[in-house]
Symmetry: C2
Subunit: 418 residues, 2 copies
Amino acid sequence: MKKNIFYAQSGGVTPVINATAAGLIDGYKSKKTNFGKFYVGLNGIAGALNEELIDIKNEKVSELNKLKHTPGGAFGSCRIKLKDSHKNQEEFNRIAEVFKAHNIGYFFYNGGGDSQDTTLKLSSFFKKSNLDIKCIGLPKTIDNDLPITENCPGFGTVAKYIATSTYEASLDVKSMSNSSTKVFLLEVMGRHAGWIAAAAGVLKSSTNAFPHIILFPERVFNEKAFLKKVSDSVKKDAYCVVVTSEGIKYSNNEFVSAGTSRDSFGHAHLGGVAPKLSQMIQNKLKLKVHWAVSDYLQRASRHIGSSVDVKQAYEIGKKSINYAKNGITDVMVTIKKGKTKAYGWEIGYTNLKNVANKEKVMPNSFISKDGFGITNPCKKYILNLIKGEDYPPFKNGVPDYAQLELKTIKKKLKKFKV
Amino acid sequence: MKKNIFYAQSGGVTPVINATAAGLIDGYKSKKTNFGKFYVGLNGIAGALNEELIDIKNEKVSELNKLKHTPGGAFGSCRIKLKDSHKNQEEFNRIAEVFKAHNIGYFFYNGGGDSQDTTLKLSSFFKKSNLDIKCIGLPKTIDNDLPITENCPGFGTVAKYIATSTYEASLDVKSMSNSSTKVFLLEVMGRHAGWIAAAAGVLKSSTNAFPHIILFPERVFNEKAFLKKVSDSVKKDAYCVVVTSEGIKYSNNEFVSAGTSRDSFGHAHLGGVAPKLSQMIQNKLKLKVHWAVSDYLQRASRHIGSSVDVKQAYEIGKKSINYAKNGITDVMVTIKKGKTKAYGWEIGYTNLKNVANKEKVMPNSFISKDGFGITNPCKKYILNLIKGEDYPPFKNGVPDYAQLELKTIKKKLKKFKV
């Protein structure tokens, strides 16, 4: 009896994680003789723990075909980090039990650094338990912070969105600056790595002054230097555009977004770097500021997909079916630089040990000397990843995204109690 | 000697205000025998006060051709409201003097309610001063709050952006809700009218639960009812999506965004409704919240232009040249409902007196009974305005927007001192 596949989505989702699912499903369909059923865990690894499995043959093909252009995690994601198996025997046993009950021979886990760690732990446990389950990690993170892989699927589309949105908002504040707003601040994601903020830097050229300032978590935030740069930019260009990573910190390692102020009930004010910086500029420089926080809008921005990004995400899924068929296990699929001089890429893989729980921040050579911009090599790196427009189809004025049924199959085991 | 045109952009800009400029320029070019030169005021009416005029023949045709798809105000806008002429003789005299010096016979002012008021005041003053200058107001506002006109150019594109972005972020939070974020809040523009927030309402259907809550400035904000609705939505669907207008107020007429808290220097915390509501939900309901503030990103969102909106903005400019040629004055150009049963529209005009300084809020029939959603007639109204995708061309991964020189012509008068 052929072994079944178990796939799940994990961690913060991306605009193209479903493109990886689409590639995996298409790969499976083209190699169907090698595999049994294709199950997806509802809400990531929780689907394994709770024995909530979706058989993709129960989903409408027309909706599955939309996965390639649908943002979010179509099968539900999770923020569950498994503890080490010796501290957490119960959960590991349960997953093994569920996988045995459903004849799972292939485990594909689609996530970031934490999820690769989960995959590695499960793989070790399966081996110790004499279970033959191939374990393959599929990369995904808008933060672009996984090591080994040349870049991470999800980042290219978010980078394209941030560059485009910063361009547009810069034109807006520029046109208002003569008698109104002088500064525009955009807060983007990135707690430890400044890749997303860096994406706005591709706009700067001999004809564009913006963005005047990019703030990276890789650099200590210096209020004085920052305010001087804002003031200088407004003096020179009449306006100033700032793109800030959410995770910037002071030299004492405190987040700039961390509020010490309290409301009348004693509750701490919520973070948000953009309003904090805005307050700083208005108080100290007396300049009118507008600010935006892109949050999930950036992370789900599939309406302005990068063609390269969508292709890479899809191919990662498709290729990994081949790897599984060939018995490869304990790896994370990667994007490798092609051998040609122009930007080219191919799919490869690396041992899970090389990527689990590791984080790739921006190299020093990618951040400009003053710490407020990107260098040419960084610009080139990002421009390659935002090439081409992959638009979703629209229906009634809004994108036509997949709507899955997500009906789970009949359970074989008793309920799991955590 | 043929009279010259003076055009200027005013107030908060929109993603399609330059499409109106493009229509005007194209109209002028096709009727060139009737007019002299085509001047644009740099930074709105400030260009008239400071005698800073741009002759469009000095701009590259290739860049002018990009205006139709370029957001922001390409010629600079302004936030200047002229006082009544009897209180402000100096400014009115100066504008008349500049217009005489440059043989202006046509004044086109592209703005919202305040700008129509400026146009009306100037027109009256010109008449009193025996100056034959035709004055035509061109509508523009993402707020959709001008009366008489069926809708306002700029709104359709912003509505499309808000509906699309809310859709995408809803899929994101839905996929995270099982073990992480339960509520997503999006703050959109709209101080007095809830049109933009209403746009997200088109997503709700038999298959989509989101957005669960829309907050309108037209309805008093009731914290208790709001929190109950959030809690009920999370109980029912596992997650909740809220779209809020920036201008919502408590029953005591205080803005929800107005902070009473102070930082250590005694400075007031800046507004932002989304972080306020987020805090409320986290403190009272103990639910994990993500929030975004779209600010200029929405107002400049030309990368996802509504075809209807772009067409209307362009035709308003083009048609107004005909009106000017025919000697029509003291009007604002409008969009009228067509006579066919399907959605159709045509360009018309109304006397400036009917629109100056007036605001159209959402009618009661467009807001659902519980105050948290839109009705079917409202949905139909908005769906008509977000139809079709008008994408800008892209270059190197980002939109290829117009870059004008904005060189002003030689001055004929002395410097104006305000």
